[in-house]
Amino acid sequence: MELDPLLLSRLQFAFVVAFHAIFPVFTIGLASYIALLNGLFFKTENPAWDRLALFWTKVFAVVFGMGVVSGIVMSFQFGTNWSNFSHAASNFLGPVLSYEVVTAFFLEAAFLGVLLFGRGKVPQGVHLFAAIMVATGTFISSFWILSANSWMQTPAGVELIDGRFHVTDWSEAIFNPSFWYRFWHMVLASFLTGGFVVAGVSAWYLLIRRDVEANRKALSMCLWLLLVLTPAQAVLGDFHGLNTLEHQPTKVAAMEGNWERSSNVPLLLFALPDQEAQENRFEVGIPNLASLILTHHADGEVPGISEVPPEEQPPVWLVFWSFRVMVGIGLAMIAVSLAGLWLRRGGRLYEHRGFLQLMRVMTVTPFIAVLAGWFVTETGRAPWLVYGMMTHAEGLTPSLTGGMALFTLIGYIGVYAVVFWAGVYYLTRVVRQGMLPDAPHDHEVERPKRPLSAAHVPFDDASRQPGRS
C-alpha cells in the first residue's frame, strides 16, 4: 500500500494535538481552583485551604511542565507538515498564535515563579495576586488558540487573493462567528476537568482517611461547582450546536447521522453509518427528538450529509460516535453531580464508599469527553482545513512524502510515550505522597524557577545509591 502523506499528517497532527490538549485542559481549570483556594485562605485563614492550595500547586507544576514540553512540537507542526497552509494563512494565524506565545511568556516570566516558589517569601497578598494572574494568563492563552481554531472553522474578516489570506478586519477575524461558543464551551470543559480531577483525588484521600478535614471541603466545593456547571455545559453545548448548524450544516448532519435533509428527524441512540451506501445500516432512535433539539420544533428540518458530494463529506462514523461519547459522558456527569446532592442529606456524602469510588473513576472521564469533543469538531469539518476555502490536501506540505511523515509520526509517538510515562508515573507519586502532615521534603530536588521543581517529590526510591556511569 502506498503511504499517504495526507492521511499520515492528519494522524500525526491529531496525535500531537490530542496528546498536548490533555495537559492545558486540566491546568486551565486547576489554575482557577488554586487561585480560589489561595483566596479562601487569605480571607478565612483556615490552614486547610492552605494545605489544599499547596498540594494542588505541586500537581499544577508537573502538569504545566508536561504541557509546555508537548506544546513546543505544536508550534512547528504547522510548518513541517502543513507548509502551504501556514504560508497561506500566516497573515492571520502568525500574529494570533504569536500572541499566545507572548502571553504565555509574559505569564511565566512575571507570575508563575512567584506562584510556585514565592509561598512564604512574598507577602500573602502578592502570592494571591500571582495566582490570579496565572489563572488569567491561562484564559488569555486559550483565547488566542481558540480564536485561531474557530477562524479555521468559520473564517471571517479575510479575503483570499492568489492563494493567500489577507486580513481585512482584525476584529471580525478574531471574533469570528463560532468563537465565543467554542471559547466558553472549552472554558467550561476545563472547569469540569479540574472539578472532576480534584473531586476524584479528594474522594480517594477520603477513602484512605488522609487529611479528612481538607479533603471533605475540597470534595464538597467541587460537587457544588459541578452541580451548576454540568447542566450549564449541556445548555452551552446546545447553543454551540445551533451555531454549527448555521455555519457547518454537514458537520451537524454527521453528528446526527442524518443522510437526507428531512423533517421529524429522530435522535439516534445507536447506528452504524455506512459511508459507501450513504445510509445507516442499523439504527435505534427517539422519534422527532433531533428535530426538536436542533430547530426547537418536532417537525423541523435537519440538513443531510448527502447534500454535499461524498468527497466533501467527513468520516461520518467517527463524528457520529465521538459525539455520542462526549454527550454520554456529559449526561453521566450530570447524574453523578445530582447523586452527590442527594447524598448530602444526612451527611452521607463523605462516608458512602461506593460514591467515593465512583468519583475516583470519574476522574478520567472529562479527558475522554474533551478529546471526543475535539474529534467531533475537527473531523466533522473534513475535508476543509479552512472551512469552505482551503482543503486539507491544499494545505499539505508539497514536498512531504509518506515515508517522511511515517518516520516522524512513529518518532513523536515514541518521544511522547517516554514523556507521558515519566510524567504520569511522577504525578502518581506526587498524589500518593500528597496531603500528608509531614510530607518527605527531599532537599536535593529543590531547584527553583522551573515548574516541576515545585513538586519536591523524588522520582524513584533511593534504594540504590547512584552509580557512576
Binding site: 507548509s83 500566516s90 497573515n91 511568556f105 506540505t397 512524502t401 517516554v418 530536588v445 524557577k449 556511569s469
Partner: protein, 333 residues
C-alpha cells in the same frame, strides 16, 4: 505606515532573537555535550546545577523566534521547516529529552544513568541539528513559486555535516567557558583543559567553512571579494576574540574566556549575516519577499515590543539571582 519599514524592524528583532538564542541556549546545550566527559558524577551534578535555573528561560527565545517567523516572515517558516523536516524532528526530540532530563535527573536515584544519557544525547542531537540549519541556510533551498520543491534529505551534505559538527564544538566551547566562570576546583580545572582543544576544533571548522562557503554560494563570493572591504572587520574581530580567549585560558582568568567566546560567536554571526543580507530564504528571496502583510507585522509588533523588554529584564534578574559559583551540595535558595 510608510514612515517605518516594518519588515526591516522585524528583521532586526528576529536577528536579535536568533543570536540571543544561540548564545544563551548554546552554553547550556554545550554543558550537555560535555556531560559524558566530566570527571565524575559529582561534577555532573555541579554542571547541571550551573545551568538548571536558566536553561528554560534560554529556550524561550527559540519559541519566540519560531512564532515571530510565522508572524513576520512566513516564507522562512514554510520553506525551512519542510526542507529540514527530519532535522527539525531530531532537534525537537533532542530538546524534549534533555528538557525532561533536567526535571527528573535530580529527582532520580536508580534511574539517574538514563537521565544522564537523555541529557547528553538530547543536547548533542539538538546542537548538531541547529548547526545543520546554518549549513543548509548557506547552501540555499530549492524553492519555486514560494514553495519548497526539493527532497527530504537535500540538506544533508558534507558541508552541512561540517557546520553541524562545528556548532557542536562551538556550543561545547561556550559550555566549557561557562563552567570556568561558574565552578571551581576539579570541574573548573577540567574545563580549563578541554577549552583550548575545543577552541582549536572551532577554529579549524571556522577556517574550512570560510574557505568553502564562497564555492558553495556565488553571491557570498561576490560580496566578500567585491568592493565592500569593510566586511572583513567581522572575521578579523572574531579572530581577535579567539586570541583573547586563548590568552585568558592560559592566564587562568575566570570570566574573560566566556565573554571572549560570546564575542567569537557574535562576530561570526554578523559575518554570516552580512554575507547573505538581505536574502533570508537563499538563494533568491529577500526579507521583503518573505514578509507577511504590513498590517500583520504591525499587529504583532505591538505585542512583541511590549514583551521583549519584560523578558530581558526577567532574564537579567534571573542571572543576577543565580550569580556566583555553584558549589557541591548547594541548591539555589
Amino acid at each position: 505606515m510608510a514612515m517605518f519599514d516594518l519588515t526591516l524592524i522585524w528583521a532586526l528583532i528576529i536577528g536579535f532573537g536568533v543570536i540571543m538564542y544561540v548564545l544563551m541556549d548554546g552554553f547550556d546545550l554545550g554543558v550537555g555535550i560535555l556531560f559524558p566527559f566530566a570527571p565524575d558524577e559529582e561534577s555532573r551534578d555541579l554542571m547541571m546545577n550551573s545551568v538548571a535555573p536558566v536553561w528554560d528561560g534560554n529556550e524561550t527565545w527559540l519559541v519566540l523566534g519560531g512564532a515571530g517567523l510565522l508572524g513576520a516572515f512566513p516564507l522562512v517558516y514554510s520553506v525551512f521547516l519542510p526542507a529540514l523536516y527530519i532535522g527539525v524532528f531530531l532537534m525537537l526530540a533532542g530538546l524534549i529529552f534533555r528538557g525532561i532530563a533536567f526535571e527528573f535527573r535530580f529527582k532520580s536515584h536508580r534511574n539517574r544513568r538514563w537521565w544522564n544519557r537523555a541529557f547528553c544525547w538530547g543536547s548533542a542531537v539538538a546542537s548538531f541539528a541547529q548547526g545543520v540549519v546554518v549549513g543548509a541556510y548557506i547552501q540555499g533551498f530549492a524553492v519555486e513559486d514560494f514553495v519548497y520543491v526539493g527532497g527530504p534529505l537535500d540538506w544533508l551534505t558534507p558541508f552541512s555535516v561540517l557546520t553541524g559538527l562545528g556548532l557542536m564544538a562551538g556550543y561545547a566551547l561556550l559550555g566549557a567557558t561557562w563552567l570556568i566562570m561558574k565552578t571551581e576546583g576539579a570541574v573548573q580545572a577540567w574545563a580549563y583543559r578541554v577549552a583550548p582543544r575545543l577552541l582549536l576544533a572551532v577554529l579549524a571548522v571556522f577556517a574550512i567553512i570560510s574557505v568553502w562557503t564562497p564555492f558553495v554560494d556565488a553571491g557570498v563570493r561576490e560580496r566578500w571579494f567585491g568592493h565592500l572591504h569593510l566586511i572583513w572587520v567581522f572575521p578579523v574581530l572574531a579572530l581577535v576574540c579567539a586570541a583573547l580567549l586563548w590568552r585568558a585560558i592560559h592566564q587562568r582568568r575566570e570570566g574573560q574566556p566566556f565573554i571572549a567566546t560570546l564575542g567569537l560567536f557574535v562576530f561570526t554571526y554578523l559575518g554570516l549575516l552580512v554575507s547573505k543580507w538581505p536574502v533570508i530564504v537563499p538563494p533568491d528571496y529577500t526579507i521583503w519577499d518573505a514578509a507577511s502583510d504590513p498590517g500583520s507585522q504591525l499587529f504583532l509588533l505591538i505585542g512583541v515590543l511590549f514583551v521583549i523588554p519584560i523578558v530581558l529584564v526577567y532574564t537579567a534578574w534571573t542571572y543576577w539571582v543565580f550569580r556566583g559559583k555553584v558549589r557541591p551540595g548547594e541548591g539555589y535558595h
